[in-house]
C-alpha cells in the first residue's frame, strides 16, 4: 500500500470491511457506486477491480450480511442495489473493533523502527 508509483490493490480481507462501512455510511448502493466510493475515500490510492468486488459482494450476500435487489440508479440505469442487513451491522461493529485492535498492535511494532530510519 505504500508504493508511490500508482494505485494499489485492496488488501485481502479488508475489502469486505470497506464494503460494509460504505453501505453503512451511504445506505443502499450498487456495485459501481461502492467501487467508486471506496476509491474516493482512499483518495484514489486504491482501485477496486470488479473481479474482486463482485465475488466479495456475493460472499457477503451468501453469508447474509447484505441483501440485494434490482432498482434504478440516479441516471435511470437498471442496477442491483446492496443494503446492509442487521447481521451485517453487527458484523461491521465486530470487524471494525478487530481491525483497530490489530492495527494498534502493529503500529507499536512499527513505530520505533520508523523513527530510526
Amino acid at each position: 500500500m505504500n508504493d508511490s508509483s500508482g494505485k494499489g490493490d485492496v488488501w485481502q480481507g479488508t475489502l469486505a470491511l470497506m464494503i460494509l462501512k460504505t453501505l453503512e455510511g451511504l445506505g443502499p448502493l450498487h456495485g459501481y457506486g461502492i467501487a467508486r466510493r471506496i476509491e474516493q475515500t482512499s483518495g484514489s490510492r486504491l482501485s477496486v477491480k470488479y473481479g474482486t468486488l463482485y465475488p466479495a459482494l456475493l460472499k457477503l450476500e451468501q453469508e447474509g450480511f447484505v441483501d440485494a435487489e434490482w432498482g434504478l440508479s440516479e441516471n435511470n440505469r437498471k442496477a442491483r442495489f446492496y443494503r446492509l442487513t442487521r447481521a451485517g451491522r453487527k458484523r461491521l461493529v465486530k470487524e471494525t473493533r478487530d481491525w483497530e485492535h490489530a492495527t494498534s498492535i502493529l503500529a507499536r511494532f512499527l513505530a520505533p523502527e520508523e523513527q530510526e530510519s
Binding site: K49, L58, N75, R80
Partner: protein
C-alpha cells in the same frame, strides 16, 4: 453457522435456485454502463469512455467478460498466448531453429515461385490498360503440327482482317525492323518498332518525358519523329533529358525524338518506335503483328469463331501467304508471350507445393515429439481449469508464431533466390515488360501460405495432444512405458508421407537432369566451339544488287580472315543450328507426286564447311571461283539425298528452286549438286535435320547476311570483327555478336536448365528435410523406449539386437514411404512429359537411382539415433525408475 449458510447458497446455485449467471452478467453490464456514463460526463469521446471503463475494470476480468459474451478469444488472450508460446520456443532453441528453418525453406520457396507466377502470368503488364481484352491472331500450319506459324500479316491482309471483324474496339499494328543510327562515332543498329500511331494510346501509356506518338505523326508529309525506349535512353544515352526534341539520323533521315517511354514499356522489344501507315507503299512487303482490344462483353471464343470465317476469305485473296491446311487461333496477350512456359511454371508451383508439404509434415512430426514432453504440462493446465479449446488455441498460436517466423526468414530467402531465378530465366520466355520482384500481392500470398501451413502442421498435433486423456499422464511415473502409441503411428505416417513426397521431387529432378544431359550430349553434327556469329543486315540502298553485296562480303571476309587468331571465316544467311531460308523445290527427273518438297537454303561463302567443322561426304565444297562467277552449284546434306533422291547418286543432279529470287532467267536449269555434306542440326537441336542446300552467296541478294568466324581459342574477337567491317563500310550495322555456344546455351539449354535447377534445389531441400524428419522421429522413439531397451539389455539382448530393432522401425517407415513415393511418382512425372527430351517419364534407371538415394538417406538418418540406443546403460535406466 455463516459457513453453513454460504454453503447452502452455493448448493442452491448449483441446482439453479441461486443467482443465475445472466443475472450476474446483467449486473456487470450495468456496472460498465454507469462507468461509461461517468466517463462521458468527464468529457471523454464515447469510444474512449467505453474502452477506459473496460480497462479500469481490470484486463483479466474484461477478457473473461468478452469471452463469455462473444465466444471468441480476445486480442489480449491471443497476445498472452503468443507471449507464452514465445517463452516456450526460446526455451527449446533446437526445436525452434529446426522448425523455423524447415518452414522458412518451404515458405521461401513458395514465395519465390509465386512471385514469378504473379509477375509473369497474373500481372506482367501493370502499366498497360485492359490487358485482359487485348488479343492477337495467329495463323497455324496444321500440316507441320507445330504451333505458331505466324502472327503477322502483310498490310493488305491486315486491312482485310481489320475491316471484316466487328469484335475489336481498336486495332494496332506493329512490325520489328532494323534501323541504323549514324553519329560521329559510327553506325549502330537499333531495333525499331514500326507501329501504328495509336499503339501507345491503345496500351494506355504516356511518355515518361516528352510526348508519345500522335495521330498526325503518321500523316503523309508529316515531319519524321520517333520515341525511344527507356532502356536505350538509359544504356546508350545516359538518361540525358535534353535529347528530347533533338534530331537523330536514322537510316540517313534526320528524325526528331519526341519522347521517352516509361521504363517497363518495351512493345515489340524495340529500342525505339516510329509511326507508320499501313497504306504506305514502303511498308507493302512487311509483316505486321495484329493486336486488337475486344469490345466489352465479347469473348475470345466469339472472336475465334469470327476469325475462322474471315481467315479463309483472306487466304483466298492472298493464296501465297497461307499453307494448304491452316488454322487460325485467337490468343490473349499474356498467353501469346508466355505460351508453353506457363506449363513449366505450373509444374514448378506443384513442386514447391510438395516441398511445402514436406516442410509441414516435418514440423508436424517435430511438434508431435515435443508434445509428448508436454503431456504433463497440458494435464496440469487442464486440471487447473484450462478448457480444451483454450489449450488447442494455445498450441495453434504457437504454430502460427512458428509459421510467421518461418515466413519472415522465408522472405529473406526468396529476396535472394528471386535474383538467382531472374538471372536463370531465359529471354523471350516471359514478357519483356515483366519485372519479377516481391510485391504486395506476393507478400500477402505468402502470409496466407504461412497461416495455412500453421493450421496444417499445427492442428493435428494440437488436437492429438489435447484429445488424449489428460489425467493419465499425471499418474505415470516416467515416460518410458506410457505410450502415445497412436501418436507414434501418426508421426510415423508423417515420415512415410515425407519420404514419398521427396521421392516424387527427386524423381522429377532426376528425369529433368537425364533429359538435360541427353540434350547436351546431342551430336550437333558441327563444331560449335569458338565460332562467332555476327549478323550484318545489308538493307541500305547501296546493296540492292547481288553483285554489290558480294563485293562487300568478300572484302569484309578477307580482312576478317587476316585477323590474328582467326582460323577461318565465311558468310551465311541463316544461323547455324537454328535454320535458314526455306524454299519449295523440284528435282527434274524425280517424281514427287503431290508432296511439297522443301529445303533450307543457305547463301554462303567458301570455307563454310571448314568453319563449322562439317564433314564433306562426297564431291567438293563451294570454291571462291563459284562465288566470283555466281556459279549455280550446290552442296546438299545427307538428309536431302536420303529424302529426295532415295540413295541415287546425287552429284550432277539439278535443284529447281520455286522462288523468283533464285531464278537465273527464263531458261533456268537450277543448281547443280556438286557435293554432299554430313548432317548437322538445323532446326534446333531437338529436331532431326531438315534437308539443307548450300549455294554461293553471290547468286542472289538478301538483307539477312551474317559472318561466321572460327578462332583458335575463346578470343574476344567480336570488337575486332566489327572494326574490320566498318573499315570496309562505316554505314553497315553490326548486330549483337555471340558465339554459337552462347546462342546454344541461351536458346536451347537455358529453359531446361532452369527447370532442372528449380526441381533440383527443391529435391535437395526436400531430401534434407526428410533426413531431419526421419532422424527426429527415430530419435524420439529411442528416447521413449529407453526403459524398454534397458530392460531388454538387462535380460541379455546384445547391442546388435537393439541396433537392429531400432533400425527396423526406421526402415519400415522409409520402405513404406519409398513404395508409396515410387508408385505416385510414376503417375506424377507424367506432368513433366512436355519438358523432357529423349527420356521417358517412367524411366526405370532414374527411379531406381532415386529410390536408392532416399533409401540410403533414410537408413543413415535412422542409424545415428539407433546407435545411441545401443549405448543405453541398463543399470542407469533401471535405477532411474
Amino acid at each position: 453457522m455463516r459457513r453453513l449458510r454460504a454453503l447452502l447458497h452455493r448448493l442452491f446455485g448449483l441446482v439453479g435456485l441461486g443467482r443465475h449467471d445472466d443475472d450476474l452478467a446483467n449486473e456487470l453490464e450495468s456496472h460498465v454502463l454507469m462507468h461509461v456514463d461517468d466517463n462521458l460526463r468527464a468529457g471523454m469521446p464515447p469510444e474512449e469512455a467505453r474502452r477506459r471503463a473496460l480497462v479500469e475494470l481490470g484486463v483479466e476480468s474484461v477478457k473473461e467478460a468478452m469471452r463469455d459474451r462473444r465466444g471468441l478469444p480476445s486480442i489480449d488472450a491471443l497476445l498472452k498466448d503468443a507471449r507464452f508460446a514465445l517463452r516456450g520456443l526460446r526455451k527449446q532453441p533446437t526445436f525452434t531453429f529446426a522448425s523455423v528453418t524447415a518452414l522458412a525453406l518451404g515458405i521461401g520457396a513458395a514465395t519465390t515461385i509465386f512471385s514469378v507466377i504473379q509477375n509473369v502470368l497474373l500481372d506482367p503488364y501493370p502499366m498497360y490498360a485492359d490487358v485482359d481484352r487485348i488479343v492477337g491472331v495467329q495463323i497455324r500450319d496444321l500440316a507441320s503440327g507445330r504451333p505458331g506459324f505466324r502472327d503477322s500479316f502483310l498490310p493488305a491482309e491486315f486491312l482485310e482482317y481489320q475491316n471484316q471483324t466487328s469484335s475489336f474496339e481498336e486495332v494496332i499494328a506493329g512490325a520489328l525492323g532494323d534501323v541504323v543510327y549514324s553519329s560521329g562515332d559510327g553506325s549502330e543498329p537499333f531495333a525499331v518498332g514500326l507501329t501504328s500511331e495509336n499503339t501507345f494510346t491503345f496500351m494506355g501509356v504516356k511518355a515518361a518525358i516528352g510526348r508519345t506518338l500522335a495521330l498526325d505523326d503518321a500523316r503523309p508529309g508529316a515531319p519524321p519523329v520517333f520515341v525511344m525506349s527507356y532502356k536505350l535512353w538509359a544504356t546508350r544515352f545516359g538518361l540525358d533529358p535534353s535529347l528530347v526534341g533533338k534530331s537523330f539520323v536514322l537510316d540517313g533521315v534526320p528524325t526528331t525524338l519526341i519522347g521517352v517511354m516509361p521504363a517497363r514499356v518495351s512493345k515489340l522489344g524495340a529500342d525505339l518506335w516510329r509511326p507508320v501507315r499501313l497504306d504506305d507503299p514502303a511498308m507493302k512487303s512487311r509483316y505486321f503483328k495484329l493486336q486488337g482490344r475486344l469490345r466489352r462483353g465479347v469473348t475470345i471464343a466469339q472472336v475465334q469463331a469470327e476469325m475462322e470465317v474471315i481467315a479463309p476469305r483472306v487466304a483466298k485473296t492472298h493464296p501465297r501467304e497461307y499453307p494448304n491446311k491452316f488454322g487460325v487461333q485467337v490468343v490473349g496477350l499474356i498467353d501469346s508471350v508466355v505460351g508453353p512456359f506457363r506449363k513449366t511454371l505450373y509444374t514448378m508451383a506443384a513442386a514447391v507445393g510438395l516441398l511445402l508439404l514436406i516442410a509441414c509434415a516435418n514440423v508436424a512430426s517435430m511438434l508431435l515429439s515435443r508434445a509428448s514432453g508436454r503431456e504433463k504440462e497440458m494435464a496440469i493446465r487442464a486440471s487447473l481449469g484450462a478448457s480444451h479449446g483454450a489449450l488447442v488455441r494455445q498450441l495453434l498460436v504457437e504454430s502460427l508464431l512458428l509459421a510467421l517466423l518461418g515466413a519472415l526468414f522465408g522472405w529473406l530467402l526468396s529476396y535472394g533466390s528471386i535474383k538467382l531465378i531472374v538471372a536463370a530465366i531465359p529471354e523471350g520466355l516471359i514478357p519483356r515488360e515483366a519485372v519479377i520482384h516481391l510485391n504486395v500481392p506476393v507478400l500477402v500470398f505468402s502470409l496466407g501460405i504461412a497461416a495455412l501451413t500453421a493450421i496444417v502442421f499445427g492442428l493435428v498435433p494440437a488436437l492429438q495432444t489435447v484429445r488424449r486423456d489428460l489425467v493419465n499422464p499425471l499418474r505415470d511415473s516416467g515416460k518410458g512405458t506410457s505410450g502415445g502409441y497412436r501418436r507414434g503411428g501418426l508421426s510415423g505416417a508423417l515420415v512415410v508421407g515425407e519420404v514419398a513426397l521427396s521421392l516424387v521431387l527427386l524423381a522429377s529432378a532426376g528425369l529433368l537432369m537425364r533429359s538435360f544431359v541427353a540434350l547436351q550430349a546431342v551430336d550437333l553434327g558441327l563444331d560449335a566451339e569458338n565460332v562467332l556469329f555476327a549478323p550484318i543486315p545489308l538493307g541500305s540502298s547501296q546493296y540492292q544488287t547481288a553483285a554489290s553485296q558480294e563485293q562487300f562480303l568478300s572484302q569484309a571476309l578477307s580482312r576478317v580472315r587476316a585477323l590474328p587468331g582467326v582460323v577461318s571465316a565465311t558468310t551465311t544467311t541463316g544461323m547455324p543450328l537454328f535454320g535458314g531460308w526455306r524454299n519449295d523445290l523440284e528435282l527434274p527427273g524425280s517424281s514427287q507426286g503431290d508432296a511439297v518438297w522443301q529445303a533450307m537454303f543457305q547463301l554462303c561463302s567458301d570455307d563454310y564447311l571448314q568453319t563449322l567443322g562439317i564433314r564433306l561426304l562426297q564431291g567438293r565444297d563451294l570454291t571462291r571461283a563459284d562465288l566470283a562467277e555466281s556459279r549455280r552449284v550446290a552442296v546438299v546434306n545427307r538428309t536431302f539425298v536420303l529424302r529426295f533422291l532415295e540413295g541415287r547418286d546425287p552429284l550432277g543432279r539439278r535443284i529447281k528452286v520455286k522462288n523468283e529470287a533464285f531464278r537465273a532467267g527464263p531458261e533456268d536449269v537450277g543448281f547443280e549438286i556438286v557435293g554432299v555434306m554430313a548432317d548437322a542440326k538445323n532446326q534446333g537441336i531437338r529436331e532431326p535435320p531438315f534437308p539443307e542446300v548450300l549455294v554461293p552467296s553471290s547468286v542472289t541478294k538478301t538483307v539477312g547476311r551474317g559472318l561466321l568466324v572460327k578462332t583458335t581459342g575463346a578470343l574476344p574477337i567480336a570488337e575486332s570483327v566489327k572494326r574490320e567491317i566498318w573499315a570496309v563500310d562505316r554505314g553497315v550495322s553490326v548486330g549483337r555478336s555471340r558465339t554459337l555456344t552462347e546462342i546454344l546455351k541461351h536458346w536451347t539449354y537455358a529453359e531446361p536448365r532452369l527447370g532442372l535447377y528449380i526441381f533440383g534445389s527443391f529435391a535437395v531441400l526436400g531430401l534434407a528435410l526428410v533426413i531431419l524428419g526421419v532422424y527426429s522421429v527415430i530419435a524420439y522413439n529411442v528416447s521413449r523406449q529407453t526403459q524398454e531397451i534397458g530392460i531388454r539389455m538387462a535380460l541379455g539382448a546384445e547391442r546388435s539386437d537393439v541396433l537392429r530393432m531400432t533400425l527396423r522401425t526406421g526402415l519400415k517407415l522409409v520402405v513404406l514411404g519409398v513404395v508409396i513415393g515410387a508408385s505416385s511418382s510414376l503417375a506424377a512425372t507424367r506432368v513433366l512429359a512436355n519438358q523432357l527430351w529423349n527420356v521417358s517419364p517412367r524411366d526405370p534407371l532414374t527411379l531406381g537411382f532415386v529410390v536408392a538415394i532416399v533409401g540410403v538417406a533414410g537408413l543413415a538418418a535412422s542409424y545415428f539415433p539407433a546407435r545411441r540406443a545401443t549405448r543405453v546403460d541398463p543399470m542407469v535406466v533401471l535405477r532411474s525408475e
